[in-house]
Symmetry: C2
Subunit: 119 residues, 2 copies
Amino acid sequence: MIEPIDLAKKFSLFSEHWSPRVVGELNDSYVKLVRLKGEFVWHQHDNEDELFLVIKGTLVIRLRARDLTIREGQFVIIPKGVEHLPVAEQEVLVMLLEPKATLNTGNLHNERTVEPEWI
Amino acid sequence: MIEPIDLAKKFSLFSEHWSPRVVGELNDSYVKLVRLKGEFVWHQHDNEDELFLVIKGTLVIRLRARDLTIREGQFVIIPKGVEHLPVAEQEVLVMLLEPKATLNTGNLHNERTVEPEWI
């Protein structure tokens, strides 16, 4: 079914942090929504570039050499192989775009690893 | 260079309608920004799904069976092979995500066909 997807409505369906939900698929990629708060873990995606579009709030993505600040209405693309650490001092709402094979923790598989579910 | 991309700033760099600009690339896809106003042409993309995220305004995408209305903060994915006709009664600002091979006019190659440029 081809239907418009409302980001705010989809975000209203969940409240957990660091637990991406799938809201669309195109080509070999998923569109995911995620709520971030606090600090994640350093990781990298060996084979996938990842897009973070900030829908609400301010996201910091730490790289090994410097920090990036991504505000509402901005996106950043983290290329494959680049270590990064997302940090959200206050809650941040993010739309992600990444290949279906992407694991949220990248090269790691630990207690922060979650399988995304469709909403 | 890994840098945040500000959608509003990028939109301020051009005013033409129906002329997508590339603002990012990830995996095999481009992120494009486009200003739409008026009616485009019926077309389909034989091999590529296409995502339209409305940043400002209200977009109508006509399908052969019905019309879709996509408002600010909503996106729609038009699957490969589905004929569609974007219509913007007032100007609409859209973020597109589509494979690099995608032609704006899909299966057609005519006077509306343009090569996207990076901004």
